[in-house]
């Protein structure tokens, strides 16, 4: 095997899950490739965090619909991850002498790529997931890990007590040492929610991954199998408290909220130093008829309508008299004249016809439980004058006629 210069830390990014709760948005692409924030994809956040933390070797574990993600990552150049002896690699399941297996769980995905990790002879491995929006210096967490002489360190964020039962809660001693995992507890004992960010000392992780692989009945998952086994074996495991903006964007509602957070001056997430691939488009144009308040607009847009609390990705066209409120419009979509889009996510290259209505305000729906964000899949055409009510999800590549 070719020898690579040693890397103290290798990051492994779990990007193989379907993200089924995002519905049509992940029908044709993996969740980490979902567009976010006007010009990014979700994976830009953990990737930029890696480079900004000085991590130069990143393996991305792909399995579900990897085409768009692979193409987007390419040679890693936008993130400076195109080094001569390091950089980013997309790692998909593969065939070997002993057979071929899909990644059966998060731990199995790492296990199948032990050879990739060992090329760099690392001391530590960072395990990340591709569905969170946050900025974090993994170096500080690594220092904490070293200081505590831990086998495993898990980043945690303080969540409100009433929400704690939605998360994996870590119960710790005063010094931060974990004594108990509590997955979605009914009666949480603490408010330390796991952020799905793990640092392992590689020797220990390698040992436990190998043991777990051989174990009958294991689901080969970090949360369900590897971490509890390590804790039961008495390994030193610590919770690293993180302060700052962090949001899981695994559902339509949370994806929409995280986007809207970018428009909130009180939210601390700053997009500086988040890198992405940039489409080659001219600056956007705003016509004399447009009215724009509290919105984000990327290059290549043409805005002739009214925008409020909305995010336009690159190359979006908004026709005269169209109104967009509290919505996310992904690259290349066309909102034609007089159309009305509110509380909606419109995916790439979709056309909303003239005077069509997509989504509704919460107060326009009688039963609040029936209200939700309307979602239109990519490459879909909504006919002139059509009406798509709140919470509706329209498939990709379809045509919706007016009533």
């Amino acid at each position: 095997m070719q020898m690579f210069p040693k890397q103290e830390v290798v990051a492994m990014l779990l990007a193989g899950g379907q993200g089924s709760r995002l519905g049509v948005l992940t029908k044709k692409l993996a969740k980490p490739a979902v567009p976010f924030g006007g010009k990014y994809r979700i994976i830009d956040f953990p990737l930029s965090n890696c480079v900004n933390s000085g991590i130069e070797a990143v393996g991305i574990l792909t399995q579900y619909q990897p085409l768009i993600l692979n193409e987007y990552i390419g040679n890693g150049q936008p993130w400076d991850l195109d080094g001569m002896h390091s950089g980013v690699n997309c790692l998909s399941p593969y065939q070997a002498i002993k057979g071929a297996d899909w990644y059966s769980g998060t731990a199995n995905a790492i296990y199948q790529n032990i050879n990739y990790i060992e090329r760099y002879d690392p001391d530590y491995v960072v395990i990340l997931s591709g569905d969170h929006i946050y900025k974090m210096d993994y170096n500080k967490m690594l220092e904490y890990h070293k200081e505590k002489n831990a086998a495993c360190t898990i980043a945690v964020i303080d969540v409100p007590l009433e929400e704690a039962s939605r998360f994996g809660i870590l119960n710790t001693h005063e010094d931060g040492e974990i004594y108990e995992f509590d997955e979605k507890p009914e009666h949480p004992k603490s408010t330390n929610a796991s952020m799905g960010i793990y640092i392992f000392s590689w020797k220990e992780l390698r040992k436990y991954l190998t043991e777990d692989e051989a174990k009958e009945g294991s689901s080969h998952d970090f949360g369900k199998d590897v971490l509890p086994t390590m804790l039961a074996a008495g390994e030193r495991m610590f919770a690293y408290p993180f302060e700052g903006y962090w949001k899981d964007v695994g559902t339509i509602d949370s994806l929409w909220e995280a986007n809207m957070d970018l428009l909130d001056p009180n939210v601390t997430l700053d997009l500086k130093d988040i890198y992405s691939r940039n489409p080659m488009m001219p600056p956007h144009y705003v016509s004399p008829d447009a009215n724009i308040q509290n919105s984000l607009i990327a290059d290549g847009c043409n805005v002739e309508g009214d925008l409020e609390f909305s995010i336009l990705f690159s190359g979006v066209t908004v026709g005269k008299g169209a109104t967009i409120n509290s919505s996310i419009i992904m690259p290349g979509a066309v909102i034609e004249e007089g159309a009305n889009v509110q509380f909606a996510i419109v995916a790439e290259n979709t056309v909303i016809g003239k005077n069509a209505t997509v989504g509704q305000r919460p107060e326009a729906v009688e039963n609040r439980d029936e209200w939700g964000i309307a979602v239109i899949g990519e490459n879909t055409v909504i006919a002139d004058g059509a009406f798509i009510p709140a919470k509706q999800m329209i498939d990709t590549d379809t045509e919706v006629a007016a009533e």
């Binding site: 924030g37 006007g38 010009k39 936008p78 428009l263 997009l271 500086k272 130093d273 988040i274 890198y275 992405s276 940039n278 080659m280 488009m281 001219p282 600056p283 956007h284 144009y285 705003v286 016509s287 004399p288 447009a290 009215n291 724009i292 308040q293 509290n294 919105s295 984000l296 607009i297 990327a298 290059d299 925008l307 995010i311 336009l312 990705f313």
Partner: protein
């Protein structure tokens, strides 16, 4: 002929004496334009999109911003095993005092390149042009030299302009060097031409040996000696040859037909990438008929303006008919009309500045007003 057999050769400093403010600390080719571009992005993208793999850029002075912008050429796909971008600057005490000498001083580079043809271009021209049509025209006519020309009024700033007498087939019968620019309709040659490398170097050597340093005379004397043709550039073209034409071009970008032609998605214009976030419009922003690049924060009123990347417009600011270059900070309650604001300028709160349609005022790079 094939496009990979053509060496692109761009003069970066064209007419820099006509835009002394903008070119005070940079070459003409690296003047910021259109919100996120530098002038040279257009010609470099045209060359790259036409399949030219090898480009040399001649810069006689002030080339720091140019080198910073074009870098290795990777933004234009010109930095690969089989493609190259080379910056050609004075060396060994040689000066670039005129075209004839400059081209001769580059003979080592030009002759070393494996391409058979040279396409000479100027750094002050904004157009989206497919050179393949020119190459076909050149081959079909078995031409020795093909000039690119524009029909119309000669832009202000071109002294002693070259005009052509072209017949219906595109053959050039006569070349005139006008004693002065009377801004009349004509077939006007702006310094773009395609020629076989060997012919170019022979003519330059012979001109030097006869001490004929006036390139316009060298061009004129090709008639009768060679098969000289001219190819019309029928597309939208802006010549940056004065501060007024710079201003007018930026304002032309408000026209849909100009944007559609210049930013044809099939032939994109490339530029150095900066990781700016999308632009943010505040609660009190009011933007009309303007071009806005990424990374801006707009809290004030903007009308008929070109706002470059990373610009901040404060609350209560009123900007109309302005060109604001990157990372400028426009304070709150300012009032600006017909002003060109260079990079990194800071306009303090409450200031007012007025230029005029025919005389936009200019605030130099890094000034604090």
């Amino acid at each position: 002929m094939r496009s990979n057999d053509v060496l692109g050769f761009i003069f970066a400093g064209t007419l820099d004496e006509k835009i002394p403010e903008l070119a005070a600390s940079r070459t003409t080719a690296s003047v910021p334009i259109g919100g996120k571009y530098r002038l040279i992005d257009f010609v470099l993208s045209n060359m790259s999109n036409s399949g030219i793999n090898n480009v040399g850029i001649v810069a006689k002075s002030n080339f720091l911003s140019l080198t910073d912008h074009v870098g290795s050429g990777s933004a234009y796909d010109l930095s690969k095993r089989r493609s190259n971008l080379t910056l050609l600057t004075p060396y060994g005490g040689k000066t670039f005092s005129n075209f004839v000498e400059t081209i001769y001083n580059m003979h080592g580079y030009i002759e070393h390149c494996r391409e058979e043809y040279v396409l000479i271009e100027q750094g002050n021209v904004v157009t989206n042009f497919d050179y393949n049509a020119l190459f076909d025209f050149h081959s079909k006519n078995n031409a020795d030299i093909t000039f690119i020309y524009k029909k119309g009024i000669i832009p202000a700033g071109y002294d002693r302009p070259i005009t052509l007498d072209v017949d219906a087939s595109g053959k050039v019968n006569q070349i005139f060097v006008k004693p002065d620019n009377t801004a009349e309709e004509s077939d006007f040659m702006y310094g773009s031409l395609l020629v076989r490398k060997e012919l170019l170097m022979n003519e330059i050597r012979s001109a030097l040996s006869l001490n004929r340093l006036d390139i316009k005379r060298v061009i004129q004397e090709t008639i009768g000696k060679f098969r000289v043709f001219a190819f019309e550039n029928k597309g939208y073209t802006a010549f940056i040859s004065s501060i007024n034409s710079y201003f007018a071009f930026n304002m032309d970008l408000m026209k849909k037909e100009v944007r559609d032609e210049l930013f044809n998605p099939k032939r994109p214009i490339y530029t150095k990438v900066r990781d700016d976030a999308p632009s943010r419009y505040g609660l009190e922003s009011k933007v009309k008929n303007s071009i806005i690049a990424q990374g801006c924060v707009i809290d004030g009123e903007v009308e008929n303006c070109v706002i470059s990347k990373g610009v901040y417009v404060g609350k209560g600011a009123k900007l109309s008919n302005c060109i604001v270059m990157q990372d400028a900070i426009i304070g709150a309650d300012t009032n600006l009309n017909y002003v060109i604001i260079d990079k990194d300028v800071q306009i303090k709160d409450g200031r007012s500045l007025m230029g005029f349609d025919s005389y936009p005022s200019y605030i130099a790079k890094k000034s604090v007003v």
